[in-house]
């Protein structure tokens, strides 16, 4: 697969604060890529630089070998986080205007606008002023204006974060359709959205790329066997659990233990051996187990790990 977008050493500082501290990433043609990270990780700043709205402090962005000076914006469609349009235009006028700005002829822009309105389900509202559109309609109009010139890369900044569950489902469905025909990069802080539509994930934290790769690859690469144990609330069991979590008490094959969501969570190196050792310990110490579950860490664990204690994960490139 061809590399569509290649970013090297991209950096942006606002005064003394670095919002993006030198990131490298690449996006391959035809993939749907999620830029994942907590609020303030630098996702929007990165996207603003990719779309040419914000000049980078340093670093390069190449789009199929073309640099910023070659104006590859004609290949990019962009849906901002909070889209704002000229409220005095009607939906149709706005799409025609967007198409013409991208170099379409008047007739082509008209035809394309009608097509896009149909596709995002705004045909009935096409003659109404954009100022009177609801949030969900604005978002759909935003997708239409981003696609009006058939871009090779569609960039969406938090496309579903501000929507209600129904709007969210509609937009996610549109995105699934979209990724069949073009390359999509979207940012989100909701892991579930990312997992449900994308092929690749780039996890950002504190202005850096913390982990990147295909979803399946990341899942298997960072997959770690874990055991979750919930104990009863009696004094003995609670004291034992606290000792385990503090590290005062150790068990073979158990790397670490921590409290999470009312359970004790063990990261282990050998699931079978650790399970036996743990059960023997429970019997020996008279700890009342309420529930014991063995399994593997999920992408969410990886996300949390990256976000909370970043820096200890090796970067992978897709």
């Amino acid at each position: 697969m061809n590399e569509l977008l290649c970013v090297t050493g991209l950096k942006r500082t606002f005064g003394a604060r670095a919002a993006v501290e030198g990131i490298d990433m690449s996006i391959k043609e035809g993939r749907c890529v999620a830029l994942l990270g907590p609020n303030g990780a630098g996702k929007t700043t990165t996207i603003r630089m990719l779309t040419g709205l914000l000049p980078p402090t340093s670093g390069t962005i190449k789009f199929r070998g073309e640099g910023m000076e070659d104006d590859f914006r004609r290949h990019i469609g962009y849906l901002p986080q909070a889209p704002v349009y000229y409220g005095w235009m009607s939906g149709r006028e706005l799409l025609v205007h967007a198409g013409r700005l991208c170099g379409l002829s008047a007739a082509a822009a008209e035809a394309r606008a009608a097509e896009m309105l149909e596709r995002v389900g705004l045909s009935d509202a096409a003659r109404r002023r954009v100022g009177g559109y609801s949030g969900g309609m604005k978002q759909r109009l935003g997708i239409a204006q981003a696609l009006v010139h058939r871009p090779r890369l569609v960039i969406m900044d938090e496309p579903v974060s501000a929507l209600d569950p129904i709007g969210r489902r509609e937009v996610l469905a549109l995105m699934r359709e979209l990724k069949e025909e073009t390359t999509v990069l979207f940012s989100t802080h909701v892991l579930h959205d990312a997992e449900s539509v994308c092929d690749d994930v780039i996890i950002m934290a504190d202005g850096r790329v913390a982990a990147a790769g295909a979803v399946e690859e990341l899942r298997s690469r960072y997959r770690q066997p874990i055991i979750e144990l919930r104990v009863e609330e009696d004094a003995r069991s609670v004291a034992w659990a606290d000792e385990m979590a503090d590290g005062r008490r150790k068990l073979p094959h158990v790397d670490s233990a921590e409290h999470r969501d009312g359970s004790l969570r063990f990261a282990v190196d050998d699931l079978d051996a650790a399970r036996i050792a743990l059960m023997q310990e429970l019997v020996r110490e008279g700890v009342k187990a309420a529930r014991l579950e063995a399994g593997f860490s999920t992408l969410e664990d990886l996300f949390l790990k990256v976000v909370e204690g970043r820096g200890n994960l090796a970067r992978t490139r897709s």
Binding site: L53, P55, P80, L101, C102, G103
Partner: protein
């Protein structure tokens, strides 16, 4: 160029829909028509003002046609400039603040053409409004007072139009530099006021502020030897302001 025309078209449609293209000419026409009418009827107006002692004789010489038109220009120099600055103070900064500038500028649109389209639309609107207003003033002057020298009027019109263009360009420059629209209006009006005051304090320093006075002299058919030089300087200053605005747009980080 094609894209620039699309942008200009959008600005013009926006001016029509927001009624700016209606009220700006109306204000200019009102200001322009008032001047000859009040000059002509001033004795009547004073007579009806009421608190004059019985039998007082009011004798105000009716000003010449050229003088009336010069007074019209001085109306435009105060209220006219204020209206122009208020009309265009947010043309760039409001779009940047609201995010509609980002909508346009993520498309393959140069930031220079973005500015130039706004500049062209603003100049078009101001020239049309000024022409309508000054035309109205001329019409009523001919009707009530007498015909001024047409060549002199056209010359004064062009000279004053250049001064207005300079102020519009300043407003757009400050609108691209400053975040607040009110700040842009204040800065451009302040600059224009300083230049105008400077022109009466230092009449020998050649700067755009002299142009308003030169235009007022021109409509009265009094040629000023400095006119050509001041026109060149004003045109250069206008171009410089436009270039600076383009540069400031280029370096701008958009939301």
């Amino acid at each position: 160029m094609a894209i620039w025309l699309v942008l200009v078209r959008k600005e013009v449609v926006e001016a029509l829909r927001s009624m700016k293209a209606v009220w700006l000419p109306l204000v200019f026409i009102l200001l322009g028509a008032m001047q000859p009418i009040t000059s002509y009827y001033m004795p009547e107006i004073l007579k009806h003002a009421g608190n004059m002692p019985e039998g007082s004789i009011i004798q105000i010489p009716v000003p010449s046609a050229g003088e009336v038109l010069a007074q019209t220009l001085s109306q435009y120099g105060t209220l006219g400039l204020l209206i122009v600055a208020l009309a265009f103070m947010g043309m760039i900064s409001s779009e940047i603040n609201s995010g509609t500038a980002s909508f346009t500028l993520v498309k393959p649109v140069g930031r220079t053409s973005f500015f130039l389209s706004k500049w062209a639309a603003a100049l078009l609107l101001v020239w049309l409004s000024f022409a309508a207003g000054f035309g109205a003033s001329w019409y009523y002057t001919v009707l009530l007072i007498g015909a001024p020298d047409a060549g002199a009027v056209v010359q004064g019109f062009l000279l004053y139009g250049l001064w207005l263009s300079f102020v519009v360009t300043l407003t757009l420059l400050f609108s691209s530099l400053l975040r607040s629209p009110a700040g842009a209006a204040f800065a451009s009006l302040g600059t224009a006021a300083v230049l105008a005051v400077a022109s009466s304090l230092f009449p020998h320093a050649w700067q755009p502020g002299l142009l308003a006075g030169i235009a007022a002299e021109a409509v009265q058919a009094a040629a000023n030897p400095k006119a050509t030089a001041v026109v060149m300087i004003t045109a250069a200053a206008t171009a410089l302001a436009a270039v600076l605005a383009c540069l400031s747009m280029k370096r701008k980080a958009l939301p």
